[in-house]
Symmetry: C2
Subunit: 158 residues, 2 copies
């Protein structure tokens, strides 16, 4: 497979809806400002502020028992039909399911992040720095469970 | 917080759409048959078969370089407005963002799974056993990257 590949026909059929439960505030005001990945974002320093909308704040109860969370967020500027891409970090084309590009059939990004502070009543969750644009829509917060989520010996092609 | 809590008003406002990119085939034919969690599912043995729809199969290129994947799937039978729940494994109510219940504002489940086999042309990805119902809709496959996804020392309240 030697070039990028777009799905045919365009992937526009809606199947289900996601709701936005809050916003992620970062120092990166536009997509062009964003660090290339989350490791670069952490090197830049600072922290990201996750703002949970009022209606969803009761769901933060008990989260303080966890050191890390999994955040799912919606990359609203990403293309959704690019199934084979040429990432800048790679030496050739890559299938979308083998990379973490925000451009994917469902533009859902996933980051594991250390929790720095949590205020259940104001809905503010401060985490280590993220690589997404300021005001990125949040769709889920999950507790990170090392027994099922951590695989230190997993092999990866980079 | 001493009882379950539902969001008010009902969370029905659509924000964005997700598309289904395939199905997960498991031995559990109904929700009632499903193991309580993914560790129980693995104890039951066997494997889960992820079937990627034809249009999305080009996206599987290069995935064979990874030993593990992150699967996101849509729990279509789950309630979406239950922000505080009483899980059977806990001694009291829990905020939805502190548990991995499928019932959440966006009913997206996440599992890290070892890849057992992959056939890019038939779109079949066999992984270690999962705890979801047969024919659960798949919404994403991501490569598992231990440098950012593995936190063996994360602390968890259970």
């Amino acid at each position: 497979m030697h070039k990028e590949h777009r799905a045919t026909p365009p992937l526009t059929a809606p199947d289900e809806v996601v709701v936005f439960i809050g916003r992620i505030r970062t120092p990166w005001l536009t997509r062009a400002d964003c660090p290339r990945n989350v490791l670069r974002a952490r090197e830049a320093g600072g922290s990201a502020r996750v703002e949970i909308d009022p209606v969803y704040r009761p769901g933060l109860a008990n989260l303080s028992a966890y050191s890390h969370v999994i955040l799912l967020y919606w990359m609203d500027e990403a293309e959704r039909d690019l199934l084979v891409q040429r990432p800048s970090h790679a030496d050739g084309p890559r299938g979308v399911f083998s990379i973490r590009s925000p451009a994917r059939p469902n533009p859902i990004a996933l980051s594991v992040a250390r929790v720095l502070s949590l205020n259940e009543s104001t809905g503010l969750l401060e985490v280590e720095q993220l690589d997404c644009r300021d005001n990125t829509a949040l769709i889920d917060v999950k507790p990170y469970l090392p027994t099922i989520d951590s695989v230190p010996g997993a092999t990866a092609d980079r």
